[in-house]
Amino acid sequence: MAIIKGKKSSSILIYFVVLLLVGFTHFSGFAQNDEGIPQISEEAQDEMEEADLNAGEIIIGHIVDSYEWHIADWGHTHLSIPLPVILYDQGEWHFFMSSKFHHGKDAYKGFEIAKEGMLKGKIVRQDAEGNVVQPIDLSLTKNSFALLITSTIVVLLFLGVAKTYRRRQRKAPKGFQSLIEPIIVFIRDEVARPAIGNKHYERFLPYLLTVFFFIFINNLLGLIPFFPFGANITGNIAVTGVLALFTFFITTFSGNKNYYAHIFNTPGVPWWLKIPVPLMPIIELVGVFTKPFVLMVRLFANITAGHIIILGFISLIFVFGQASIYAGYGMSIISISLSIFINFLELLVAFIQAYVFTLLSAIYFGMAVEEHH
């Protein structure tokens, strides 16, 4: 852990403590701010301290990935964990810790964190002509790091449960086993079996269970605002994109003759919609790709939206607090109550989104293996 001096609004921490006292808070610690990806110059920051609090920037800063794991600010002290940066550029590998960027303020080995443009927040390099180029960036970012932690938790959890199942054959479920068994049975009997059919569902069950629990647990852990949780994993488009791609590839590779016949020679459609202009095949083919795309966007948007709402409520406190400290205190009561409410809603959303992702995956698999009728 590196404790680094920096400049940042100190009032944020006071509210962080208030939130702790309230005892229930979702958002990833307000103080865990956009330091990793500072978008504004030092002067601007100083200015900001006195003048406007850019709530939008702060909220986005909490939601996007970053190269270091910011935990809290105390006055001008930043508490953050530097994470390894791994770059491949011009035939060369570069490994260094993200602390070399000094919270994005400095460049290192010619690399810096882009402050604006399409690549904002990513590590870039300026080439000889002054163009911004992006190296191949395999850095273990905050989300990647959190992902490794939560993945380990998921694996350990379910290996443990599997062990319990092996040990307690034919006995009533016990402990953690009894917590997840209804969910497993639910996925099997209410999702996999009706969507895929009795004949094929067992083949896809391991994937569906994995994907459900992976999303569900990451959603829940994303609601815990403290290190090492609270990273917005399932609200990151790269993560949901990879999950959607898994579903896409499994669907594509398990598609039978009927599935492809349905795409390229849709039955029950007038021939002139297929020849000479293959309108229907094009529509069907686009559908094949929109399905995983929709999966990706839905999960990403839902989880991100929940985080944004909660962060928005919290930001309101500071926005009001800038007008008058009493307004800030007054607003904190409303904001905290509302964010508690949203938190409960998010618990529901955590389950629903995992369920929807799993259900849609199951339906796509069901389409892929459907027998001719």
């Binding site: 986005i60 990647s144 998921v154 290996l159 994995t210 790269a238 990879v242």
Partner: protein, 164 residues
Amino acid sequence: MELVNPGLGLIFWMTLAFGIVFFILKKFAWPSIIQALKDREQHIEEALQAAERAHEEMKKMQLDNEALLKKAKEERDVIMADARKLREKMLDESRSKANEEADRIVENAKVRIDNERKAAMTEIKNEIAKISIDIAEKIVREKMQSTEAQKDYINKLIKESPLN
């Protein structure tokens, strides 16, 4: 833009992490969990069916038992009635037998008493005869003590004899 611009590194780590999680769970966790669930469900199903069967059997057995009990009761009644009849019969029989026996004993006693009485009478008669003879003898002896009397009597007898 930053929000919807996926990072290559995160895609890479996510693919790796999720792939490994999926692989491990598919290999080591899900099969035993799914199998165990299936086993247990089957076991419960079987147990329920067995319980149902046992219940049916018990019901049947209960019916059987009731029938058996009823039959037993009937039999018991019959036996009791028979026994009662037999007892009465036996009582009657023994009563009549006892009467007969008593009659016979009384009869015997009567005969015996009669006989005894007869024997006693005979003896008394004999005794009386003996005593009479004795008395007569004594009287005769008294009368014939003097010679005169004897001579008179002899003379009388001679006179009465057919010799004359």
